[in-house]
């Protein structure tokens, strides 16, 4: 059976103003259920690419299809998560998770049940009625993840979701994220600065290089699943790290930093 492609970009470009080319000539296809890591140095256009796919900003050239339809604006099958949790301080965890339903006017007992379940799933049992200010940074991101699950979106765009957290928390949340999005249904694009993290999580790593922002390489990660932390010391893993480094180095040589 042929893979179903959920996202396709061809010659996709985004320019800000006269001379900032944030994304140029991006060509990619993303099969349903895959986990894509988007890695690259700061300012290379990762967030811009994600915002294009999410429909938050308009492309300036090329084609971008989600489920074979041109992206024209935010869609309900795409959900986002940011480096900041972006919780509403005046709402408890469960009320924050219910925000998508509230906005869509689909809030009812059933929605509340699902919100409850999502909070259990992300490990927030007993914190359902805490306010964001009463939660640690890691827990706040868990609420944000539960809210993302609540949208019912099966395309998840994560922009450095755990980038502001300490390393221990980040590794734990990465593993929990993998557990949640595994399976053939949920397609994930995960932005990160961290090469190891990118490889560890992904089926495929897109390496982006700056000025102009391009996808310089798309590397299939052929490591067994489910992943575990011991794999990060294997020669295969280090091979992938080296590959990514080479791509970045090749493009960064002689460029002003």
């Amino acid at each position: 059976m042929a893979e179903e492609l959920v996202i396709q970009g061809s010659a996709l470009g985004k320019q800000f103003g006269e001379n900032v080319i944030a994304v140029e000539d991006a060509n990619f296809t993303i099969p349903r259920g895959s986990f894509i890591s988007l890695v690259g140095p700061s300012g290379c256009g990762k967030s811009t690419l994600l915002r294009l796919i999410s429909g938050l900003i308009e492309k300036s050239g090329g084609d971008l299809l989600v489920r074979n339809a041109e992206v024209v604006g935010p869609r309900s099958d795409i959900g986002m998560m940011f480096q900041k949790a972006v919780l509403l301080d005046w709402r408890t965890s469960i009320e924050n998770v219910l925000l998508p339903d509230e906005i869509r006017g689909t809030i009812d007992t059933d929605a509340k049940k699902r919100a409850w379940d999502h909070l259990q799933l992300v490990g927030l049992k007993d914190f359902e009625f805490s306010f964001p200010r009463q939660l640690s940074g890691g827990m706040q991101q868990r609420v944000a993840l539960a809210r993302l699950l609540q949208t019912g979106a099966d395309i998840m765009l994560l922009d450095e979701p755990f980038g502001a957290l300490d390393e221990f928390t980040r590794e734990r949340l990465n593993d929990e994220l993998l557990r949640i999005v595994e399976g053939p249904d949920i397609t994930t694009i995960f932005v990160t600065h961290n090469i190891q993290e990118a490889i560890y999580l992904a089926d495929q790593v897109f390496v982006m290089t700056p000025r102009p922002g391009r996808i310089a390489a798309q590397i299939e990660i052929d490591l067994p699943t489910p992943r575990n932390i011991d794999m990060t010391t294997t020669p295969e893993f280090n091979n992938y790290v080296q590959q990514v480094r080479d791509v970045l180095a090749g493009h960064l040589d002689g460029q002003p930093l």
Binding site: R51, S54, G55, L56, P74, S76, I78, G79, M80, F82, K84, V86, L88, D89, W90, T92, I94, E95, L99, P100, E102, I103, R104, T109, K112, K113, W116, E128, F129, S130, F131, R133, Q134, T151
Partner: protein, 291 residues
């Protein structure tokens, strides 16, 4: 049970602020207060200061008794000033917040408004008192108008600041969820701006009395301003001081009330109110879900 414990813990914390027991602190403040009053009284009685200009504490107390109880005339004037100040404050706040919202929602309007706001900011608002009295007459309207003008600015500036403080990511979240402009406004912008807006409202309430009083000083038939002007004009200084103390006291009470409202509305900034709210919501939602 646990509530009792919390209460006693917070009492200890409160007492700790005073270094020593609460009773000791009260005693100390009382003694210091009476010593100052005694020196003041004595300075007056020995002819060191002029009792005609700086009345004795005992005379002020007697005047307070007089204007509140035996004559009882102060109540009416207090009510007049209070009414002017509050109506003016309400109008000023509504206009201030209204203009601020319009300025934030429309860039064109903001650009249009900017020079006028700079002019208003540079003008001491009180200076419009005589003009307002000429425009709106000697009655209540001129006082209301000046109180409104004095109150307008803080809510205006604070509402703009608060609304512009919404982070870009929050807008993106709402947009990615398909929120309408109305939803973004009510569910995101207003609650985010509320703490700053409330601070502006508190400032406004505080300045409202001043605005009404100044207009009354200029010309009025009733109100604390004209009452105090009459007392000083006839050199009845004890009563003038009694009036001044009244205004201070009511200003203080009003400020405390505003603080209490503020805290209740902004429950998510107060640890104990958050805890209470959590419990309430937990009971409700658990009940609904049958958990």
């Amino acid at each position: 049970m646990s509530n009792d414990q919390e209460a006693s813990v917070s009492n200890i914390e409160l007492a700790a602020d005073y270094k020593g027991t609460l009773g000791g602190a009260v005693l100390r403040h009382t003694i210091i207060f009476f010593v100052i009053m005694f020196i003041w009284e004595m300075a007056n009685r020995t002819g060191f200061s002029n009792p005609l200009l700086l009345p004795r504490p005992t005379d002020i107390v007697a005047s307070i008794w007089k204007i509140y109880v035996t004559q009882g005339n102060v109540w009416y004037h207090l009510w007049v000033t209070f009414k002017e100040a509050m109506v003016g404050c309400f109008i000023g706040c509504v206009i201030g917040i209204g203009l601020a919202v319009a300025a934030v929602l429309s860039d064109t309007f903001r650009q249009f408004l900017k020079p006028y706001i700079i002019i208003v900011e540079a003008t001491p608002r009180i200076a419009l008192g005589p003009i307002f009295v000429t425009w709106f007459g000697f009655g209540m309207s001129s006082k209301v108008a000046l109180a409104a003008l004095v109150c307008f600015f803080a809510p205006f500036v604070n509402t703009i600041t608060g609304l512009l403080g919404v982070e870009e990511e929050s807008y993106e979240l709402f947009r990615s969820l398909g929120a309408t402009r109305r939803q973004v406004f009510w569910k995101l912008m207003i609650p985010t701006a509320l703490p700053t807006m409330n601070a502006g409202l508190k400032l406004a309430v505080g300045s409202a009395f001043g605005g009404a009083l100044v207009a009354e000083f200029i010309s009025a038939q009733a109100g604390m301003g004209i009452l105090m002007a009459r007392y000083t004009m006839s050199l009845n200084m004890p009563s003038a001081f009694a009036g001044l103390l009244s205004i201070t006291l009511y200003g203080f009470i009003l400020f405390r009330i505003m603080e209490i409202i503020d805290k209740r509305v902004l429950y998510w900034l107060s640890d104990d109110l958050m805890a209470k709210k959590s419990v309430k919501k937990e009971t409700k939602i658990r009940g609904e879900l049958g958990l």
